[in-house]
Amino acid sequence: MAPNSIHWFRKGLRLHDNPALREAVQGAATVRCVYFLDPWFAGSSNVGVNRWRFLLQCLEDLDANLRKVNSRLFVIRGQPANVFPRLFKEWKISRLTFEYDSEPFGKERDAAIKKLAMEAGVEVIVKISHTLYDLDKIIELNGGQPPLTYKRFQTLISRLDPPEMPVETLSDTLMGSGITPISEDHGEKYGVPSLEELGFDTEGLPSAVWPGGETEALTRIERHLERKAWVANFERPRMNANSLLASPTGLSPYLRFGCLSCRLFYFKLTDLYRKVKKNSSPPLSLYGQLLWREFFYTAATNNPRFDKMEGNPICVRIPWDKNPEALAKWAEAKTGFPWIDAIMTQLRQEGWIHHLARHAVACFLSRGDLWISWEEGMKVFEELLLDADWSVNAGSWMWLSCSSFFQQFFHCYCPVGFGRRTDPNGDFIRRYLPILRGFPAKFIYDPWNAPESVQTAAKCIIGVHYPKPMVHHAEASRLNIERMKQIYQQLSRYRGLGLLASVPSTNVTGNGGMMAYSPAEQHPGTSSSSSSHLPGGSGSSAPTGSGSGSILFNFDSEEQTGPSRVGQQRHTPTQSHHQQQQHGYHSVPDSSQSITSSRLCHEFAVPQHPGLLHTRGSSITGKRERESEQNGSGEEDQASCSVNKMQRQSAEVSSFLLMKSYV
């Protein structure tokens, strides 16, 4: 008997290149396409009205396109786990298809639904089409760990077969004899809800700058390619005043909701490149936009705490400030920095900002000026940004706050200079902050520096009509760069004076399993650290080289006598504590106090065998040790998990235990 199918839409809101949907119609008697929406949840969720509108438009477009093949979309009010069992029975379903979701919570949800389906005797077919590659294959190729540098990721990708070709768009032919039973009251029961139904106040809501839907996406990709063909330039376009504005060729929200297949985009780019460049094979950089997305999906797929700092093995622990007032000023475009406020206004109004504008506001919130946790910024983007996907959003925020991925942290975007460089005239600011319209270009990025006469002429007094800057940028960057340097020095165990050498080596050959250090591959000054710590080996300071050696640690080892000196002579855990100290300053930490997760991981893994550390002279040795520990443990993240567990435990029991020890 021909099966009755359900195709379950989540992302992948399209009929083109939808392999799971194709499986659903294959030889089916009946086909129903469903989308689950919990109206109660919708109003209370953290997702803003622009994103909801985009989604509803996608669903309407999907429904419209399904009608063209004599089908409809069934928008089901409720939660999949509650509703599926009833649907299976009611519709006599024997096949369920959906697109693979790589994100940890999606995987968990899907596993539960699969189980329900199996119990109901329903066959489940899952197909990968939200990403170009099977992410698990990338991870497997990297020895079981997701690559943590983009370079490494590119290397792995270049070893894989090219992505699979897009599959045929759903059509009458493909539908074959499959039908969609549609009841009279379909609209009432299964229609796409309106924003009002979801509890949003739509009065005064301006029309969408980014209309949702597959149809729009397919128009845009043609325009996108036409423009590329016209400029015949495949490099990343340089940013200018114009690129800050929403473009009718922009694709990111469409990729996010799967209105546009990334594979279609990939192959269209390839074709165009071959046509324009006369058959030379395209470089990986052509696919930059798609590959970065893929990179973050890969990094996140097995890490349910990818969007957190605590308990996230790849995230550096940074002592961010909790400051709700400052956060609110940033989110509500009241920082007093026109460049930042204009971007945040654009984000709130339209749901999209240029990627360098994202860099600017993210840097300002986190490591640049306010020193507020990237998690808070990520949540605001989650609410407002149309293309914010869990993995990509969290990954980008970790990247921009220098919390992971072996980032150079020296480069801080100036909230005044960066904008001025991009749009010297300040038109972007005038567009989104009309209150500042009267300021001349000279002062529009720092209106607080404008003489009173200029402010009066502009009909905008700073501190009255527009806020004064909320931070002293020069002072804030001085403090923050110093903190980042200390944090990174702890990670890299680099003690010299250089700023650049403080970043842990990205280690081109390693699989970059964790943010662990690889000693000094590129830092000749520090590679001999084990010997320079020998008592007597001190004082070798020289202004040359990146690791200028001596600093006051050595005074320590000269002065300290007694048993601890034995520890100093060997490369022991105690020693490594010393090394992690900020440069030139020697308070000796206690490792029960928090430092960074990766570091703890490194040390908790070897505490019983200080001798092992003795042999660590090269990055290769260090790496192997770590790998073998992980392999031996059977579970790739065990080391870090146990660290997290320990941290949690320690938070609970430490005070009790310590008190007890004193009894």
Binding site: Y150, K151, R236, R238, W292, M309, K322, N323, H359, W399, Q408, F410, C414, G417, R421, N449, A474, E475, S477, R478, L479, I481, E482, L497, G498, A501, P524, P543, T544, G545, S546, S548, S550, L552, F555, D556, P563, S564, G567, T572, P573, T574, G584, Y585, S587, V588, P589, D590, S591, S592, S594, P607, P610, S650, S654, L657, L658, M659, S661, Y662
Partner: protein
């Protein structure tokens, strides 16, 4: 853990009889919490837990749930340490979050450290500097307790605190023979006279960090006096308070005296200035080794850097205008023969000039961090070729730094 228990069972008494030295040797590898676990095992191990040697260093973490994500050192533990181990403490640091309460808690602890002799003390603000928020007098009296009681302080890190001239005098009066490191960037209550007093008396000072407004010719002369040891590290932060600020100059002869006295000393300078405030800088030769430009710096200033910084080891430029820095980089490669690290953020350099720069510096460039956007393709090199060319000259694989397109 299982293994350990088994061994205890098999070998029984020998574990209890471990000599204290061995126990100490083991304990020193264990974090505090593990030592606490171990101390529950038997009387001997409990005694070992209290060995003074294990309490030489301690890092107090003072955070409030409302202002920090990190946990704090438990107040009871703090009490116990003060009661039982304060006389053992030698290397102490305080990490405080942005709340005034935390800063005050740190000062409360400090003022109880009366019977100890600290060698190092660090007051570290992990977020917005909170010591600045508290009453100056409270801070000063707490700090002075340490200065007066600890007669052999060698390292002191008190950046972003309200320390003042009189308290530095107390420091000098009690610790002049031992002080080796003093970090006090952004301490607005210290005057040039205050730091002069330190430099005049503390002849063992080897590392010093301060803001530019405290730097003077007299200070450099004092640090290069015959009585003074060789300076190893001088860190200067040049921060503009208000746009258009005027900065004083330092004579070339003073820097020359420094270099004569301490030929190997490192001079690290961080600039956070508006472009127009650079006027007086890099007019004469300056022995700077590490330069960081935190805001946009003009092509002209970078050109002067090439002429006036022969000892330059590291150069980091966060931003520059829209004109390529080609000649400036080439000049730096020619003149700064020690240069081994360079980082460029929002700048522009033509690919050809960049390759030329790398070729001239060769493999002494151990750190080369260039944002991809910096490199402007030209008739000779496309972006895709450049990493081969640069890698060839460096003798190792090199790529520009990339930022996600998101």
């Amino acid at each position: 853990k299982n293994r350990r228990e088994n061994e205890v069972v098999e070998e029984g008494p020998s574990w209890e009889c471990l000599p204290q030295e061995i126990l100490f040797h083991i304990f020193q590898y264990l974090p505090l919490l593990d030592r606490a676990y171990a101390s529950q095992v038997c009387r001997g191990w409990n005694q070992a837990f209290h060995m003074p040697e294990l309490w030489r260093c301690f890092e107090f973490e003072l955070n409030q749930p409302a202002s920090s994500y990190l946990k704090a050192t438990h107040p009871d533990l703090i009490k116990q340490i003060i009661k039982k181990h304060s006389n053992h403490l030698q290397y102490v640091s305080f990490k405080v979050d942005s709340s005034r309460e935390s800063a005050e808690a740190a000062c409360d602890i400090l003022s109880q450290l009366v019977n100890c002799s600290l060698k190092t003390l660090g007051l570290i603000s992990t977020a917005r500097p909170s010591f600045m928020e508290m009453p100056k007098s409270h801070f000063i009296s707490a700090l002075t307790v340490v200065f007066v009681n600890s007669k052999s302080l060698s390292s002191l890190k008190i950046d972003d605190t309200p320390v003042d001239d009189p308290s530095l005098k107390v420091l000098v009066a009690n610790n002049s023979d031992t002080l080796k490191l003093l970090k006090m960037s952004s301490c607005p209550h210290v005057s040039p006279a205050g730091i002069m007093c330190v430099a005049d008396q503390c002849h063992g000072l080897r590392e010093l960090a301060l803001n530019y407004h405290l730097l003077s010719d007299e200070l450099l002369i004092a640090l290069s006096s015959e009585k003074h040891v060789h300076l190893e590290h001088l860190r200067i932060d040049v921060v503009s308070e208000n746009p258009g600020q005027q900065f004083h100059t330092i004579k070339k002869s003073s820097w020359d005296a420094m270099v004569r006295h301490s030929p190997k000393f490192s001079l690290v300078m961080y600039f956070f200035l508006y472009e127009e405030e650079f006027d007086i800088f890099f007019r004469d030769e300056i022995p700077v080794t590490h330069l960081y430009f935190g805001r946009s710096v003009s092509k002209d200033v970078l050109g002067r850097v090439g002429l006036t910084c022969p000892r330059l080891v590291e150069l980091v430029v966060c931003a520059n205008g829209l004109r390529p820095l080609d000649e400036e980089l080439i000049r730096i490669a020619q003149r700064c023969t020690q240069l081994s690290a360079i980082g460029l953020g929002e700048c522009e350099v033509s690919c050809s000039a960049f390759v030329e720069f790398v070729k001239m510096c060769g493999d002494r460039l151990t750190q080369l961090s260039i944002m991809e956007e910096v490199l402007v393709p030209d008739h000779r090199y496309e972006l895709d070729d450049i990493h081969w060319e640069v890698s060839k000259h460096l003798g190792r694989v090199w790529f520009p730094d990339m930022m996600p397109t998101w």
